[in-house]
C-alpha cells in the first residue's frame, strides 16, 4: 500500500501526483522505488476522480 499512501499524501497536500513526487516520497520512506509500479499507479489514477474513489466504499456489503 506504500504507493497508494504516497498518492494519498500528495492528494491531501494538494500536490501533483506524478512520478517524481511519488518516487521521492517512497525513497524518503527508506524504500527502493519501483519505477514500473509508480508508472502503473500514475496511469491508473489519471482518469480517476480521487475524491470520489476515496469516498466510495470498495467492499461489497456482506448479506447479513
Amino acid at each position: 500500500m506504500e504507493y497508494i499512501y504516497a498518492a494519498m499524501i500528495l492528494h491531501s497536500a494538494d500536490k501533483d501526483i506524478n512520478e517524481a513526487n511519488v518516487k521521492s516520497i517512497i525513497e524518503a520512506a527508506g524504500l527502493d522505488a519501483d519505477d514500473s509500479r509508480i508508472k502503473a499507479l500514475i496511469a491508473a489514477l489519471e482518469d480517476v476522480d480521487i475524491e470520489e474513489a476515496i469516498a466510495t466504499s470498495a467492499i461489497a456489503a456482506a448479506p447479513a
Binding site: M1, M8, L41
Partner: protein
Amino acid sequence: MAHVAEWKKEEVKTIKSLIDSHEVVGIVDLLNIPAKQLQKMRQTLKDKATIRMSKKNLIDLAFEDSNVKKENIVGLSKFMEGQPAMVFTDMNPFRLFKILEDSKTAAPAKAGNIATDDIVVPAGDTGFEPGPLLGELQQVGIPAKIDKGKIVVSKDHVVVKAGEEVSKQVAGMLTRLDIHPMEVGIDLKAAYEDEAVYTSDVLTIDDEETLISIQNAFSSAFNLSVNAGVPTKETIVAIIQNANSKSFNLAMNASILTSETTEPLLALAQSEMLALASAVSDSEGALDEELIE
C-alpha cells in the same frame, strides 16, 4: 547577584544544568497534589523524567541564564503558578503530557472544588438502609425512594454542572455515596522543546481521534486502490471481489443468464412469484391449490 545567598546561586546553577542537559522542560503546578500521589508520580516517571520544585524567582533566573543556549525558554515563565515545579525529560513533550494525564486518579470532591465535568449521581441502589440519608438526598434534589428495603436513586441526576462549585452539602453527600468526581494529578501547564513552548491545549492527544484517523487513512487508501484498480497485496483480493460483484450485479439486474447467474435468476423468478402470490393470497380463487398450500 552580590546579595544573593550562596544556596540560591547553587540552586540556580543546578536548575540551569538540568535545563541544559534535557531536551524538554515542562512546568507543572504541585499545589493541591497530595504528597503520596507526587511520590507515585515520581516512581512512574523514574528514568524518564525528573520533577524538581523550586522558587519561582530562582527558576526565572535559571531560565534567563539558559536562554542563550535554549532560546525562548523564558517563555515558560508565565505558566508558573501555585506551587510551580519543573519537569525535565528527553521524552517528546506530547508523550510527557499524556503520561501525566493518564496517571490522574479519581478523588472525592471537597467543598469549593470546581467541577470539570457534570457530576452525576447515577440511578440505582445506594446500598443504604432507609434512614436520614433519604431526606438528605432529596434535599439536594436527587430523586430517591425506598425500594426493597434500600435507598434507591430513581434516575441519573446531575448534582453539579461542569464549571460550578461543589457545595459542602453536596460534597459530603458524594463522599457518602462513594462517588469520586474529581481528577487529581499533575497538570503539565506548558513544555519547552527546541525553541517552542507548547501549552496544554496543544499538547492534548485524543486517542480516539488517532484511532479514527488511522482507520480513515486506511479506508481511504483501500478504497482508492480498489476503485481505481491499483493492485496491491493488501487489496488485490478486494479488487477481484469488487469486479466480480459488479459483474454479477449487472448480470442479475439485466437478467443475463451466465454460468454464475442462471440458477440465482431462476430462484429469483420463483421468489418474486411467491412474493406476488402472497400479496394476492387473501383473494379467493386468485391462486391455484399448489400455491395456497
